[in-house]
Amino acid sequence: MSREPDVVQPDAVTVTVTTEIDVAEARQEARRLALRHGFGTVRAHGLATAVSELAMNLVLHTARGGQIRLTAQDAAEAAVIELVAEDDGPGIPDLARAMEDGFSTRGGLGCGLAGTRRLVDTFAITSRVGEGTRIVCLVRRP
């Protein structure tokens, strides 16, 4: 499997994540994209951390990994980056619990999803057991 990001269009990047090395690739792509679109260091770092959390979840909780898709949209006043993490893994049986601080099924700190939600402006998660999970986040440049 290629470790090179698949550049769909100038401001969109997709990284297929199956191993820890792909996680590093995904967060580097996220940081580069954010800086390219005028996000500040702290905001870019927050996005890179959110990407790291979601990508690490793909490595730890799914057998076949998943995709991290980043799309930047420049508007007149502000820019926004959409972050999508998608997999066809086992799904999350109890979403409410998964979003709680301190809940973990795989020995993490149990604040991955809750922490990610605090790092981004909007956070939406859909999951079906046996079908997969999809998380969509938006990060705005103030």
Binding site: G46, T49, E53
Partner: protein, 129 residues
């Protein structure tokens, strides 16, 4: 590749690379604990200047390593955190990093030495007045 551990007096020094794997972390934990157990050092300073992102997994790993060193009787200090990392960790939630910290490597080494001395050194001896 294993993360190298250097020894400066009674303190172990290690600098984490930007992209640390789980295997490297486990090797590092085992190496550091073995050196402390063998009497080669009293503590460990983990420098994270190179770590551009510290997510909840990395935070867990760091805190766990510190806990391992501590329950063996040693001291572990985290050094060199970048401002953006600190900001993000606090934004993400409470208690992400549960260990001693210092501004830089030098401060980390000094902190290990001071904490070990304050409890009477490695063998808990009565401090000489």
């Amino acid at each position: 590749m294993r993360v190298p551990i250097l020894r400066l007096g009674r303190v172990l020094l290690t600098s984490l690379p930007a992209d640390l794997t789980d295997q490297q972390v486990m090797d590092l934990q085992i190496d550091a604990l073995a050196l402390i157990q063998a009497g080669k050092a009293d503590g460990l300073v983990i420098d994270i200047t190179a770590a551009d992102v510290v997510d909840s997994y990395m935070a867990r790993i760091l805190s766990e390593t510190a806990k391992m060193v501590t329950i063996m009787g040693g001291v572990a200090v985290l050094a060199g955190m970048q401002p953006a990392v600190a900001l993000t960790l606090v934004e993400m939630g409470r208690g992400m990093i549960d260990m001693e910290t210092a501004f830089d490597l030098e401060g980390g080494v000094a902190k290990v030495a001071r904490l070990v001395a304050s409890r009477g050194g490695r063998h808990d001896e009565v401090p000489i007045a």
